[in-house]
Amino acid sequence: MLLDFLIGGLVIGGIYALIAVGLNLQYGVARVLNLAYGEFLMLGGYAAFFGFTYVGLPPLATALAGVPAAFGLSWLLFRFVLHPLLGSAGDPGKREVDSILSTFGLLFLLQGVALVAWTGNDREYSYLVGESIHVLGTAIQYSRLIVVVAALLLSACVFAFLRYSRPGRAMRAIASSPHTAPLVGIDVRQYSALAFATGAGLAAMAGILLSSFQGVNPTMGTAYTLNALIVIVMGGIGNVAGGLAAALILGFTQTLADQLGQSALGTVVVFAVFAVVLLWRPQGLFGAGPWWSGAAIRRRTRPSMEAVAVAGLGGLVLLPLVANVYWLLQAINILTYVALATAWAFFSGPTRYVSLAASAFYGLGAYCVAVLATDYTYPVALLAAVAFSAVLSAVVGLATLRLSGMYFVIFTFGLASLISAAATWWEFNIAQSSGWYVYLPITETHIYYQLVALCAAIVGLWLWRDRSRMGYALKALGADETVARQIGINAVALKIGTFVVSSVVMTLAGAILAPRSSYVTAESVFSPEVSFLTVIAALLGGATSVWGPMLGTVPLLLVKDYLSIAYANYFSVILGLILLGVVFFIPRGIVGVVQSTRARLRAGGVAGLLRSGRAAVGAATLADMLEGMARRLRAVGLNAAALPPPSSRPPPVGGKAGSGGGPTEGPQRKALS
């Protein structure tokens, strides 16, 4: 029993460790939160599949060619795409936001390419199927044994490399201080590229090994990225030994749950363990590299655009009278994300906490209505959803708003997974339901008007806040929390209050939309994509202005839908390229473009505005893009061997520049003491 427990824990822990070690290098050293990490794993899996199926190569032989290939390609990718993209973002917050956007684009791109090339089908091959070795009377499968050995070996190698080799030491220097590393003669770009490429090589290795017992398909990667993130955050970002230990803890937790006959609860427990660890030791169980606990970022928040399109609201109210059902549904879709993205920015814009909890609250709202509305009427279900989310977000806020920067990002992501796992568990084991049938007499038009009201409410609330004392307090808080506290601002209450409002709006969006679906399961409403799309839309538009999220959402969703209808096969590829292009050409978000356009127009006078509004907008946009491109191209050149110091980057003008996930200071407790 004990031996079984040890082996079981080692196997699951080994899988976790193997998928995490590469991301640890990429995130810990190259400082890229690579959301497309799992896609490298997927490509490795395909390499193994094709190698085995068409050439007859065993997976380990494929690795001999595949890992160097992954290394080389991703070195080029980092050197010529990611580094120029992120290089100019000197501060961690901006860099994080840019890396989220651009690697999200990369994720779409790689998935799209795989989809076009190999279709969405699962690929399996049969290598060492069911063959096992007996150790002390217990069977261990070869495929799992290889994973465990590889995980331990690779972790040890990476650990020793970072610890004892010269390049490894240089990498650690970069990890701890990217700005001073060049002063002692370290080529930051070179070593970051090396770390990133090694991480990708390790991801490919993991994919190659796992593919012998898990099917390969184009969209398999995201789940692995999430698992890897949890492991490295728990172990301490950049801390390879810590990552290994965290992986084993997760493995043994799951195995214990398996042995107690509570496998399903294991997922819930794993995320709960993760949440507790984060709260207890935000720097990870075993400490982490220090770069993201960086210095305070000072930014001014520009007053939001004052030109309120009240006429727009009138147009929205009349839309259902003229639009056909498809455009009505399209409008519902857009309004949902306007509400989500605006609510997201309502909290994240001024406080700069990047939250990935949108899917948790959106799902909670939808789920409450699905479960409660049939028995207790729709209004009661709405109220329950509001109450539920207010309490939950207050508790979460109390517990987590002490976390800073990336820890908060990953905590909220884990929270969404925790709630989804808990709901799935509850649905299956307690409610014993195979999904909820929702038949409410609520038409699309009703849903549409409710969403218009919800959007108007959050926008109105934001505008009111901007003019109130609370708005100024939040601005002060965003600029410098320590100073804000000293002048008597109740920072905690303010942050929690804002978080609760934001969460309740997200919950309502989910609740209002729920009657659209006639069949709801926990699985279907808690989709991590909701979180991603919300953040992308808000960042695209610019998160510090009340109009930004709207400006981002509308084109993003229209383009997305158009592409998926007109270019169904290449949808993902094109969307990925567009996202990459956005980071490349309009680094300050759409609001940034609009603001610079307005500045130019103002300079040209009202007459100029009236005469050639459209031409000016076009020219200004083009100028903005060219400016961005020139900056990027310069960064590709030789003069950008090191990251430019913060003072050399263009002054942030609202837009997404101000919404970074960067911490405003070190861990909050320091400020309190």
Partner: protein, 403 residues
């Protein structure tokens, strides 16, 4: 103002005339094509299932019909080719619902095929019912068919009901128990998902009524990382029957790990994925004797030919042995219904689908209460083929083999 009113009046008159003219002409003039749309998961987590079972059949059928010149519409006395519109829902029900409405309300397609999986089909059922499109479902199953059909009379079910499938399995086990071939202990693996809930909620009372004991039960999240611990625990209680209500990734994992751990009870039944050709390709003769959902009769009329055409069309891919034939049979029924009606009149076509008898690869098919009661329930791998073994009284059923 007056001018505006005049203009509106003139426009209305012209529009009216145009409608009249169009109505007059359509009596003789045949449409250039029959627009058939479908929204399906080309990407996302549902894509492997849709790409294996549903898509190849849709594309094959459309290709075959068009190569024959199209569907024969008596009203115009000629064949009209199909113009297919295929959209991707990215495995998201919001996109699925929106795009379905677009095809129906904006593109006004003549007919719709259906998405993959029970959940997806339940999500769009209101739209099909509202716009009156027959919903021919080859990959959906539910214990609440009667209730659903009452609410959405356009739903047509071509797979067996879960509770009938589990009952067939339990009946077969009862027979074996009476003959003294197996004991009364059952190890039950259930995936924590609506599929697992639907099948286990009907199966547990059936097992109890037949005198079986669930000696070990494991509920695991989907997809699991590893199932060795549970398999060892199950093996320890000494059951003669393993029943796994599993999804494809877990079906593959359970199969492999139960072989590795020497857990080979006499009756092994696994869930979705057992009928996949990739399952046979991966495990070869190691899966001999394993039971699963569905099954088929390879010697049924037209079946061998269908198998060959499917393989040729998909460049070597075999159809899966559960829902593939049901999906294709649904399309054949649709084709015959359209040609009998002789025009694109959805209400008449639906009526014909509900009441007519059709020659299909799944035999003579006639729906009762909007569902195919004759659909195969349980199959078993015997020497490289997944033969249907239940309902045992249906023609073409093979006898199950127990070592």
């Amino acid at each position: 103002m007056l001018r505006l009113l005049k203009a509106i009046g003139a426009a209305a008159a012209m529009a009216g005339a145009a409608v009249l003219a169009a109505g007059g002409a359509s009596a003789q003039e045949a449409p250039k094509s029959i627009k058939i749309g479908y929204v399906i998961s080309l990407s996302g987590f549902q894509a492997p299932g849709a790409g294996l079972t549903t898509l190849p059949n849709y594309r094959l059928w459309i290709d075959e019909v068009n190569k024959a010149g199209g569907l024969m519409l008596k009203k115009y006395g000629k064949r009209i080719p199909i113009e297919a519109i295929e959209l991707d829902d990215h495995s998201k029900s919001e996109d699925l619902m929106r795009l379905t409405e677009k095809l129906m309300a904006v593109d006004k397609v003549d007919l719709m095929l259906t998405p993959w999986s029970t959940g997806s089909n339940l999500a769009v059922a209101p739209a099909y019912a509202k716009h009156g499109y027959p919903q021919i479902m080859g990959t959906a199953g539910s214990n609440r068919i009667e209730e659903l059909v009452k609410r959405f009379p356009t739903m047509l079910w071509f797979l067996a009901k879960p509770e009938d499938q589990t009952q067939a399995l339990v009946d077969m086990m009862s027979g074996l128990k009476k003959e003294g071939k197996i004991n009364d202990k059952v190890a039950l693996f259930i995936v924590q998902a609506p599929f697992g809930q639907e099948y286990s909620s009907s199966m547990k009372p059936q097992l109890k009524a037949a005198g079986f004991k669930v000696a070990y039960e494991a509920i695991y999240p989907s997809p699991p990382k590893d199932l060795t611990t549970q398999i060892k625990a199950a093996k320890a209680v000494g059951p003669d029957t393993l029943i796994a209500l599993s999804y494809p990734p877990d079906t593959f994992m359970l199969t492999e790990q139960s072989i590795a751990n020497g857990f080979q009870p006499k009756v092994r039944f696994l869930g979705v994925g057992t009928a996949f050709p990739t399952y046979k390709a991966k495990f070869g003769d190691k899966i001999n004797g394993i039971f699963g959902l569905g099954g088929w009769d390879p010697n049924g009329p037209g079946m061998q030919d269908y198998f060959k055409r499917h393989k040729a069309f998909t460049k070597g891919k075999e159809p899966d042995r559960w829902a593939s034939a049901a999906t294709y049979a649904g399309l054949q029924a649709l084709q015959q219904a359209i040609e009998r009606v002789g025009e694109i009149d959805r209400a008449k076509i639906l009526e014909e689908l509900k009441t007519g008898t059709f020659k299909t690869v799944a035999g003579d098919l006639k729906l009762e209460g909007n569902r195919d009661k004759q659909a195969w329930h349980i199959g078993q791998w015997q020497d490289g083929e997944f033969y249907a073994v239940a309902p045992a009284d249906r023609a073409g059923a093979k006898k199950p083999i127990i070592q």
